[in-house]
């Protein structure tokens, strides 16, 4: 039985996310953030990591040569 979609709906604080291509976390497949007035939805995955600390999120992205605010 397939698991339900992951949904982050109108979080209390801005929530950042990174989707890795696998549990090995070698390649970032996608990334973004969810504002408090937004809803984010994605198929169930074990490879989605969320952050509420923007710096922590940015640190991971920068290490992978990604500037989300480009």
């Amino acid at each position: 039985m397939s698991k339900e979609n992951i949904k982050i709906s109108k979080p209390e604080v801005k929530t950042y996310w990174i989707l890795w291509d696998s549990e090995l976390q070698e390649n970032i497949e996608a990334q973004g953030f969810v504002n408090t007035d937004q809803t984010f939805e994605i198929l169930y995955t074990d490879n989605l990591i969320t952050y509420i600390d923007e710096d922590e999120w940015l640190e991971v992205l920068f290490k992978n040569n990604i500037n989300p605010y480009y």
Binding site: S9, A30, N35, E41, L43, I66, Y70
Partner: protein, 299 residues
């Protein structure tokens, strides 16, 4: 659309996603934008300001050793090596100057940087030039970053070097035409996308409401970040107008009807606009096909 003709409900031709709900196929031949032939030179129009005294403009060559610049005022410099600076003399009024460059140029951003804020049109990116990098100039911005007078981009004339020959940050579409506020539609028809290695926010803060691509162009599979081409947000669609629920429902339907549904990861961010029951099925279809969607949720 800049060329070709769009027919509704025809299943061949190029896929078109219209940000405001249209879903069409473009019947142009897909091999250069409906048969338009483009110049072999980089060819663009610079809206020169009134010049009091003199005004210098520089081409940043990024190592080019043999290239030619027709500065558009009667001066043609050939066999150039390294950066080239030209001095435009005083003029009593604004004037449209047609500038052309050719030769072993490699960095598009470096060629356009000094002009781009006043470039009104790109006639051709130069079909004989294989660009090794698109970003250049100060801050390594996209080639047409903050080019507000541009209304269209002739991607069919843009040729990229093989990935192994690309330089710097390689050929990425990051911020390619960000803040180019005159840009309302993007047409990738006829563009060979296979050599693009990354795409982030190419048209953010522009006013793009319509995107066209060939059926065989799967930008969503490109990119180190996997963000893909269809990375839409309110900013990408329109920085000034939030979609209504009705428009967003139509947009979701258009996307689900025309965009690749092959399991490739696609990120869509539509701000806080809400969808209704009408758009819910389309949205669910997209998510089931590996789209991740951020929006305002269902009303």
């Amino acid at each position: 659309m800049g060329w070709g003709k769009i027919y509704e409900s025809t299943w061949w031709g190029s896929l078109i996603i219209n940000g405001w709900g249209g879903a069409y196929f473009n019947l142009s031949n897909g091999s250069g934008g409906g048969g338009i032939s483009y110049s072999e030179e980089l060819d663009f129009v610079w809206e020169a300001p009134t010049i009091s005294g003199s005004l210098n403009r520089t081409v940043q060559s990024y190592g080019a050793t043999n290239y030619t610049v027709d500065w558009g005022d009667g001066t043609i410099d050939t066999n150039l090596s390294g950066n080239a600076t030209h001095t435009y003399t005083s003029s009593s009024s604004n004037s449209s100057i047609n500038i052309k460059m050719s030769g072993d140029l490699s960095n598009l951003g470096g060629c356009l940087y000094d002009f781009r804020s006043q470039i009104s049109s790109i006639n051709s990116f130069g079909t004989s030039i294989e660009w090794k990098a698109l970003e250049g100039g100060s801050f390594n911005r996209g080639a047409l970053y903050q080019a507000p007078l541009i209304t269209s981009i002739p991607f069919a004339s843009l040729k990229l070097a093989p990935i192994s020959e690309q330089t710097g940050n390689k050929v990425r579409f990051d911020t390619f035409a960000r803040y180019s506020t005159g840009l309302t539609s993007i047409d990738f028809t006829g563009f060979d996308s296979s050599r693009v290695v990354g795409i982030i926010n190419p048209f953010r803060d522009a006013n793009v409401t319509s995107i066209t691509f060939d059926a065989n162009q799967n930008f969503s599979s490109i990119g180190l970040e996997g963000q893909g081409f269809i990375y839409l947000s309110n900013y990408h669609l329109s920085p000034t107008a939030q979609m209504t629920t009705e428009q967003y429902d139509s947009f979701l339907l258009a996307l689900a009807s025309t965009a690749p549904l092959n399991g490739i990861r696609v990120t869509v961010n539509c701000g806080s606009v809400q969808y209704s029951e009408t758009g819910a099925i389309s949205r669910a279809t997209l998510i089931a096909n590996n789209y991740n969607i951020t929006d305002g949720g269902q009303i």
